[in-house]
Each structure stands twice: as structure tokens, then as C-alpha cells.
């Protein structure tokens, strides 16, 4: 049979339980905006009933601690998707900068400035104009000035691309220290979690570890492997170990061939990181694939235009009746070394200063002849750049670049949508919902009030019991 005393003990236990549940709610509200915090719910446990004389009496409630509302699969999916989205975001930003160098010419005068497509046309058109009057100084000057514009715009674009590339290189290198501090933090959290909570969710520590992993996922592509005692190993997506439970390996950088390469324990893992994902993957893809491909297209254009125009000009007769020789060539553009395509865009420039040296006349012809000017104008319609005319080549170049950027845009939009969706699912489960907390507060408050009332009434009842009906002795 239960006693008033047991009722006292039972209800004071309820008050304790309500208090600790209230403190969990208060903690939830306090951490509502803490990044990575996972909402906690109190664990209520009914106390073991007491058997007295065959009757079973409840023995109240205990609050045994908080449980984090977490779905590890969802968290891992979110991290994975985040790696892809970060990679495409970083790549997109880089590509946006690249395509800004090739803004389409809308046809207006101002939009022509810096447009390589218009420059190519203007340059070859200047030879068409020269056909009409091959000895005209103004028309000859026009050839040199359009050549200067073309060479200037191509070499400027190449210089900008190179500086964008080294900017990306620095950003990529800057990621390393963040990665290293995160992997170190994760390895330390691993140790704490393994020692304090080897078999169950480690609550706040787990929150911190997940938050660090989520930060790491934004930076590089990783795989997580759960080990015994709630430990965790992290590798790159291609399997190089970054964190092994309590220890972490430092990512180091070094210059290889003019760019930063990334090493893990002495092994160069740059190419693995490039395809791995995360910001670093995006930076490296832009640095090692996208920008070099744009640069090499420009190099092809610059090399083939320079060498073909130079070769023709060198075989004609200039206004002074001179034909170029090996020792004294009549070159309009800086002549690239044979076959040295790489870097020709950056080094493209006009070396001719005297417009009289433009060889409009054919070999052995009088200076009034225009055969060579016709031949040079015809280069515009000849397949001199990788089997295409210069304009066709530039046109397919901008289309390809535009398609690449637009492809990455679409990819990024889809991945961001997927991240948002997963984030929403995860937030729905794990984020602190203030309305829920308000409702929990009210419930607990009521329950605490009720328990207090019961306590007060038990007190009165106890007084009655002690006084045995005499109301005056104990109140």
C-alpha cells in the first residue's frame, strides 16, 4: 500500500523531472540559432512500479537526459550534395568571370570595344579595303591599327585569363588551412566522443562533429566511414585518408609547374581533389580544365592568324618594292616559334611600325598591284585555324564557352535545389522549432503546476494526518 510519504517522494520526483525537461526546452530555445545545433527532446522514463501485497503501485517518473533529433543518413546525404553544389558554385563563379571577358557584341559601337570577333573581321576587312587602293597610306595605316587592336584584345584576354587562373590558384591554396583545422577538430571530437559516448548518440559533441563535417563538405569532397565506439574516419572521395579516428593527416601544398599542387603524406592528390567536389574541386576544375581550354583556344587563334598573315606578307612586295627575306622578314605580328602554340595569345603583338611594309603587291609585281592584299583578305575565308575560318573558329569558341557556362549554371541550380530540399527535410527534423518549444513549455509548466498543487495538497493532507483532526496544532 502506498503512503503519503511515498506520494511526496513520487511528486517531488515529478517536479525534478519537469525541471530538467524545462531546462532542456530552455536549452533548445537558447540554441535556436546555433549553427549545427540539433533539437533535443527529454527522455521520460516511468519508474519501476513497486509491488506491495500483490498490488502494483506506480513510482513516478524520471527524466533520464536529452536525445538529439538526428537522422544520420539524411545528414550524410546533405553533406554529399553540398560537396557537389559547392564545387559547381565555385566553378560557376570562375566561369562567370571568364565569360565576362567575351561579352557578346550587340552591334553598337560601345559593345564592339574589346570584342575579338569584331577585331578579327575588322583586321581582315582592312585588307579588303586595301584591295581598292593598295598604295593608300590611310588604308595601310588602317591595317596596322586594326592589327594592333586585334593583338591587344587577344593578349589582354589571355593576360586576364592567366591572372584569373593564378587568383583561383591562391584561393585553392587558401582552402588548405581551413581543411586542416577542420580535420584536426574532427579528430579531437572523435576522441572525446569515443571516450564519453561509445555506444550512443553523443549529443552536443555529435552536433559539433557534424557541423565540422558539413563545413568540410563545402570545402572538399569527402567520404565518411563510421568506426567502432562511435568513431569516424574521413577520406577524400577517391579514398585518401584525412581523419582516422583520433588522428588527422595534414594537407600540404607545393608549387609544381607554376601552380599549387596538393599533397597528402607526400602523395600528389591534386587530380583526385579536382574531381572530388567541394569548393576546392570547383576551383581546381576551373584552374586546370576550364581556363586552360579557353586559353588554348585563344592560343590556336593567335598562332594561326599570326603565322598565316606573316607568311603571306613576307612573300609579297611592300610599298618600297621590298620582299621579306629570312634575315629581314616583313612580319606584321610577333612571329611565334614554329609549333609553339601555347602562350601565343599572351605574346601576340604587332611588330610592324611602318605601314609601307605591308606587302599588298604580289611577288615581283609593281607597288600598285593588290594580289597579295587580296590573298590576305581571303585568309578571312580560308580554313586557317584548326580547319575553320578565323571567324567560324571564334564563333564556335564563344558558343562552346557559353554552353559550358550555361551547363554548369543548370547543374548548379539543380544541385542547389537538391541541397535546399535536403536542408528543409533535415531542418524539419533537427532544427529548433520555437512553436514546438512554446507548446512544450506550456505543457511542462502545466505539469509542474499540477505537481506543485499535488504537493501542496499532500502537505495539507499530511497536516491533517499529523493533527488527527485537530486543525490547530500543525498548519
Amino acid at each position: 500500500m502506498g503512503t503519503i510519504n511515498s506520494a511526496f517522494s513520487l511528486i517531488s520526483g515529478a517536479l525534478d523531472a519537469d525541471q530538467s525537461a524545462l531546462s532542456i526546452t530552455a536549452n533548445n530555445v537558447a540554441n535556436a540559432n546555433t549553427p549545427g545545433y540539433t533539437e533535443e527532446t527529454p527522455n521520460w522514463q516511468q519508474n519501476q512500479p513497486i509491488e506491495i501485497n500483490g498490488g502494483s503501485y506506480g513510482d513516478g517518473v524520471t527524466e533520464t537526459g536529452a536525445t538529439s533529433l538526428r537522422d544520420s543518413v539524411l545528414v550524410a546525404r546533405l553533406d554529399q550534395q553540398q560537396q557537389l553544389a559547392s564545387a559547381s558554385s565555385a566553378r560557376l563563379t570562375a566561369l562567370d568571370n571568364v565569360q565576362a571577358l567575351f561579352t557578346p557584341d550587340s552591334g553598337s559601337i560601345s559593345s564592339k570595344a574589346g570584342d575579338i570577333g569584331s577585331d578579327i573581321t575588322s583586321f581582315f576587312s582592312s585588307f579588303s579595303s586595301l584591295e581598292a587602293n593598295p598604295t593608300n597610306n590611310a588604308l595601310r595605316q588602317q591595317v596596322l591599327s586594326t592589327a594592333t587592336t586585334l593583338a591587344g584584345d587577344i593578349s589582354n584576354a589571355a593576360a586576364s585569363l592567366n591572372s584569373q587562373r593564378s587568383g583561383l590558384d591562391q584561393e585553392a591554396a587558401g582552402v588548405t588551412s581551413q581543411v586542416n583545422s577542420l580535420t584536426k577538430a574532427i579528430s579531437q571530437l572523435n576522441l572525446q566522443i569515443q571516450s564519453t559516448s561509445p555506444n550512443a548518440d553523443a549529443g552536443t559533441l555529435e552536433d559539433q562533429r557534424n557541423e565540422d563535417i558539413s563545413q568540410l563538405s563545402k570545402l572538399i569532397g569527402i567520404n565518411q566511414i563510421t568506426t567502432e565506439n562511435n568513431g569516424l574516419s574521413i577520406t577524400t572521395t577517391t579514398g585518401q585518408l584525412l581523419v582516422s579516428e583520433g588522428s588527422s593527416l595534414q594537407l600540404t601544398t607545393g608549387m609544381v609547374g607554376g601552380v599549387t599542387d596538393f599533397f597528402l603524406g607526400g602523395t600528389d592528390i591534386t587530380s583526385q581533389l579536382t574531381t572530388g567536389g567541394g569548393e576546392l574541386g570547383g576551383y581546381l576544375t576551373a584552374r586546370d580544365t576550364d581556363i586552360p581550354s579557353v586559353l588554348s583556344s585563344l592560343d590556336q587563334l593567335a598562332y594561326n592568324v599570326s603565322t598565316n598573315v606573316n607568311a603571306l606578307n613576307n612573300t609579297g612586295t611592300d610599298l618600297d618594292g621590298v620582299t621579306g627575306t629570312v634575315a629581314n622578314p616583313l612580319y606584321i605580328f610577333n612571329q611565334p616559334a614554329p609549333g609553339a602554340v601555347a602562350g601565343s595569345a599572351a605574346s601576340m603583338s604587332v611588330v610592324m611600325t611602318d605601314p609601307n611594309q605591308i606587302a599588298a603587291a604580289g611577288l615581283g609585281q609593281g607597288t600598285g598591284d593588290n594580289t597579295n592584299a587580296v590573298a590576305m583578305a581571303n585568309l578571312a575565308n580560308s580554313s586557317i585555324v584548326n580547319g575553320q575560318t578565323p571567324t567560324d573558329y571564334y564563333s564556335s569558341f564563344v558558343s562552346t564557352l557559353g554552353a559550358t557556362v550555361s551547363g554548369v549554371q543548370a547543374e548548379n541550380t539543380a544541385q542547389n535545389a537538391s541541397v535546399t530540399q535536403l536542408q528543409t527535410q533535415n531542418d524539419a527534423l533537427s532544427s529548433v522549432n520555437l512553436n514546438d518549444e512554446a507548446s512544450a513549455m506550456t505543457t511542462l509548466e502545466r505539469s509542474y503546476q499540477a505537481a506543485s498543487q499535488v504537493f501542496a495538497m499532500l502537505n495539507t493532507i499530511m497536516a491533517s494526518a499529523l493533527n488527527l483532526g485537530d486543525q490547530t496544532a500543525v498548519s
Partner: protein, 304 residues
């Protein structure tokens, strides 16, 4: 069912997107250009490069054609003058050949024809913007010089046989010049200078060898016809040039309109999109304002 308590942040990102959209549309409206970066429409960007290339080629041809039209017209009118000079020489020679003139009259006709010879030579040495137009490719050398060391005097051609062509954007070749020797000192009886020099020699002494003079006069007539034939080449070029220039101009108009359609913003459409986007943004802002106010939290309803 649990919901994402941070849904407002999703709304805010929608708001950002809507604002970015408005910014893009406003930029299109203010610049009048619908494609401001390659990725907006890669295919159109590539097409645009080709169209602009053709438009500019057409434009260059139009400019060149007006430049060479001037030169061809100078050549044409020069040959016109040559024809009238030669006609006059023939009529002078014919009157000298009828045997009624005394020797001083014949000499005077010889002097007049000599004058015509000089005039024709200076016409043959015509230059346009400092370049001799009947010199083939040797446009900086005086093409015709006469040596009086012998009788009859000899006029020699210093130019060459070079012919320049102007190429239209669609590949048509238009002849820009006729080498001077083809017009003035062609072989056989077609040589203008040969015939004129012979006539001058015929009449210089005052005594006319009528048979020789008649032959030489006939030769001049043949040469005159030959000059007229060569003039037709120049006239043809002018006609071709005008036709090509017209064709190119109409081609350019079409290309420009295609390029405009491709690149220019459709103002009505953009304005409609902008208005839709504005409506959406206002709605989003209202929703956020409604949801974001603290009075919507259950906490605000709790008794304190």
C-alpha cells in the same frame, strides 16, 4: 508532421532570385540588348559573331566600292577625252590628206596633231590620288614617255600588265584597271601612239606622202575603235560595281535586321516580364513581412 522552422530563409532566397531577375530585366531594358553574357544563349552568341562578320564585310565592301567607283569614273572620263581628241586628230588628218592644202597648212595640221599627241599622252598619264591609273601595277612610275630622237618619235610604256580586281563578299571579281599598253600602245595597227607619231612624222615636212598618210590615218581610226572597246571594260566594271554594291547593301539590311532580332531586347516582352517579376517580389515581401513578425510565434501568445 514537422515543418522546417527556417522556411523564411527559403523565402528570402526566392526574394533574392526575384530581385536578380529584375536586375537582369532592367539591364536588358536600359541597354536594349537581350543577350548580355554568352551563357544566356550560347547558340545565338555564336550566330551573332558570324552575322556581325558578314555585316562588317558588306560594310567594308560598300566603302571600298565608293572609293574605286571614283577611280573607275576618272578612267572612264579620261578615255572619253582620249576618244574625242582622237576623233579630232582623224578629221584633221583627213583634211590634210585630200591634197588641197599648201605645205604650211599641212605643217600646221602636223603641229595640231602633235599637240593632240601630247594631250593624249598626258591623259594616258592621268593619276588618281597620286597613282597612275593606266600603269598596271607600276602606279608610281609615269607610264608613257615619248622619245623624239627618232622620226617618227617613239612612245614607250613603262608600266606592266598587272590587273587589279576588287572581290565582293560573295567572291565576284571586278576588274579595277586596264593596263595602259592595252589601250594606247597595243600591238599592230591598234596602237594609238604609234599611229599618232606616224602622222606627226608624215606632216612634219609639209610634203605629204598621201598613200602613207591615208594608211596612217586609217590606222588611227582602228586604234580609236580599239580604245572604245577597252573603255567598255571600264564601263562594265562600273556597272558591275553598282550592281554588287546594291546587292551588298540589301544583303546588309537583311543581315542587320537578323542580327537585331537575335540580340536586341523585345521591349514589350521584357516590360511584361519585369512587371510580372515585380508583382512576384511584392507578394514575396508581403508574405515575409506577415510571417516574420514576432507576433506569429506561439511564445508571444503565452501569458507572462
Amino acid at each position: 508532421m514537422r515543418v522546417d522552422p527556417n522556411y523564411i530563409s527559403n523565402l528570402v532566397s526566392s526574394l533574392d532570385q526575384s530581385q536578380a531577375n529584375e536586375q537582369q530585366l532592367t539591364a536588358e531594358l536600359s541597354s536594349g540588348v537581350s543577350i548580355t553574357s554568352l551563357s544566356q544563349n550560347p547558340v545565338a552568341s555564336g550566330e551573332n559573331v558570324l552575322l556581325l562578320n558578314q555585316i562588317q564585310q558588306d560594310d567594308t565592301f560598300t566603302q571600298s566600292s565608293s572609293l574605286v567607283t571614283g577611280q573607275l569614273q576618272v578612267a572612264d572620263s579620261t578615255l572619253g577625252s582620249v576618244v574625242s581628241q582622237l576623233t579630232q586628230a582623224i578629221s584633221l588628218a583627213t583634211s590634210a590628206n585630200n591634197g588641197t592644202m599648201n605645205s604650211s597648212d599641212v605643217q600646221s595640221i602636223g603641229n595640231q596633231i602633235s599637240g593632240i599627241l601630247n594631250e593624249v599622252q598626258s591623259l594616258a598619264n592621268t593619276n588618281y590620288q597620286g597613282q597612275y591609273i593606266f600603269a598596271g601595277g607600276q602606279t608610281s612610275t609615269t607610264p608613257f614617255t615619248t622619245s623624239t630622237a627618232t622620226s617618227p618619235a617613239v612612245t614607250t610604256y613603262q608600266g606592266d600588265e598587272d590587273v587589279n580586281y576588287l572581290h565582293t563578299p560573295n567572291g565576284q571579281k571586278i576588274q579595277l584597271n586596264v593596263p595602259g599598253d592595252q589601250i594606247f600602245s597595243a600591238s599592230g595597227s591598234n596602237s594609238v601612239f604609234g599611229a599618232l607619231n606616224n602622222l606627226v612624222a608624215d606632216y612634219s615636212s609639209g610634203k605629204v606622202n598621201t598613200a602613207q598618210a591615208v594608211t596612217d590615218t586609217e590606222a588611227l581610226g582602228t586604234a580609236l575603235n580599239y580604245v572604245s572597246q577597252q573603255r567598255v571594260t571600264i564601263d562594265n566594271s562600273i556597272t558591275q560595281l553598282t550592281a554588287a554594291s546594291d546587292a551588298v547593301t540589301s544583303d546588309q539590311t537583311q543581315l542587320t535586321s537578323a542580327q537585331t532580332n537575335l540580340m536586341q531586347a523585345d521591349v514589350a516582352q521584357v516590360a511584361t516580364q519585369l512587371s510580372l517579376s515585380e508583382t512576384q517580389r511584392t507578394a514575396l515581401e508581403d508574405v515575409i513581412a506577415q510571417l516574420d513578425s514576432t507576433s506569429n510565434s506561439l511564445f508571444s501568445k503565452l501569458p507572462i
